[in-house]
Amino acid sequence: MSHEDAATLLGLDGVTVTVPDGTVLLHEVDLAIPADRTTVVVGPSGAGKSTLLRLCNRLEVPSEGTVSYRGTSLADLDPRQHRRCVGMVFQRPVLFPGSAADNLRAADPDADHAALVDVLDAVGLDAALLERAADALSGGEAQRLCIARALLTSPEALLLDEPTSALDEDSRDEVEGLADRLRERGVTLVWITHDQAQAARLGDNVVALREGRVVFSGHVDDARAAGVLREQAAS
């Protein structure tokens, strides 16, 4: 099975990830993540969801198999350039010491004030936040700043590892509300979630993992029909 057709942004072919103690995190995963869509990744804790995302940003490398970007193996791409094409946002907002502007310039040191204001606007944050200390931001503001920071590298895709799980309900709605805006900017989203309702709200496609194996990959309507989302909630 080939995962490298034109619509595939990220492909995994026979990918296995084994850690030094012998634990297998992913077993021979074959997967195609389409461009210009939102793919939600669901599965119980320990299913390998975060490992899947880390592979796509090359924070992990497969023990076996190939991860590819637009049909080219990541091993053949400049890792730094690739990471700027496929940004990553972590479960807990990771802000660097300094102001919000300092955080944004960590992604693009040459960004001028207008560019910073523009990217803050894209994530629904006010420009007045720029000079505020990063550690004075609320959880929702911090996570949106992390997304803004990732957007400054002009990525084609954003990998979001349960970006709302550490947030309260209002902050979750703020971050979730960004999905449409990001898609309007042409950013492909890969969004890990434990929340069945969130997966149904956000996803065009669904990938379900269990014990390191892909148990479903397809359109969100097919996932509903197959009971995948309900099944995941029960898990």
Partner: protein, 272 residues
């Protein structure tokens, strides 16, 4: 020979009797170890055995060193034996650094090179500029002070680097995920670990004389050297230790950090 070195040589030839305390003196001093053991018993610290073992072991080690140095310092013995002794000290110090941070790959040769470079520069300065005469009696103790102090800095910098990168892994990965090279992603943390490694020596240098009288100076005064001459010797040694500490910290950090990242900037697992 400069006046300080001349004064030292004169003092060492005349002060031997003044500082020969004999076994009786050691035994009296050892009574204080008994006091420490009694405190341990009274406070139920369970340190009686370690205290006794450490004291006996220290005495045994010092006696071995003392007899070894007596052989080295004999008039007809080549100074190359002393150079070999210093090389052994450097290797043992490197092994100690490695033992304190076993998770860092390839640490032993890097520690040996860093400590060796610091010893070479500092001792080269001491003997090259004629601060001390290049004789076994001066080489071995001076090297001991240099290597001992730089060893502490080496252990500290390696442990701080590992601790910082482990505790702040999330920050490093967030930076790497933005496409930063590992050197940039870890710069803030490495700078902090270097500062932490150098700070104790800076504080020691700052407090010297006011809070404590360091070993070399104390030994010289006990040996009958004029206190001002002893101070000059101590000042020279302190400056060299400070420089040696900086050399080891920077060299060791620079050489091990690359081992902690893959070619594609990923931070390797670092179990502590």
């Amino acid at each position: 020979m400069n006046p300080v070195a001349a004064s030292l040589q004169l003092a060492t030839t005349t002060a031997a009797q003044a500082t020969a305390i004999g076994w009786q003196g050691v035994a009296f001093a050892g009574l204080l170890v008994v006091v420490a053991v009694l405190v341990s018993v009274q406070q139920r610290l369970g340190l009686q055995r370690p205290l006794a073992e450490a004291s006996v072991r220290a005495l045994a080690q010092l006696l071995v060193v003392g007899f070894g140095l007596r052989l080295l310092f004999a008039p007809d013995v080549s100074i190359l034996w002393s150079v070999g002794w210093v090389a052994f000290m450097v290797l043992f110090a490197a092994w100690t650094v490695t033992r304190r941070a076993p998770t860092v790959p390839g640490l032993l040769p890097r520690a040996a090179i860093s400590l060796g470079a610091a010893a070479l520069v500092t001792l080269g300065t001491v003997f090259g500029l004629g601060i001390f005469p290049f004789e076994p009696r001066y080489l071995v103790p001076t090297a001991g002070m240099m290597v001992g102090n730089t060893l502490q800095a080496g252990v500290l910098v390696v442990r701080r680097v590992v601790d910082e990168l482990t505790e702040q892994r999330a920050e490093v990965e967030a930076r790497v995920a933005l496409g930063q090279p590992w050197q940039q992603a870890s710069r803030r943390l490495l700078r902090r670990s270097l500062r932490d490694a150098l700070t104790p020596q800076v504080e020691t240098t700052r407090a010297v004389g006011l809070v404590f009288l360091p070993g070399a100076m104390t030994g010289l005064i006990l040996g009958g050297v004029d206190p001002v001459d002893a101070v000059l010797v101590q000042a020279a040694i302190m400056f060299l230790i400070l420089g040696g500490t900086a050399i080891v910290s920077v060299a060791l950090q620079a050489s091990i950090t690359g081992q902690l990242f893959s070619d594609d900037d990923r931070l390797v697992p670092l179990p502590r």
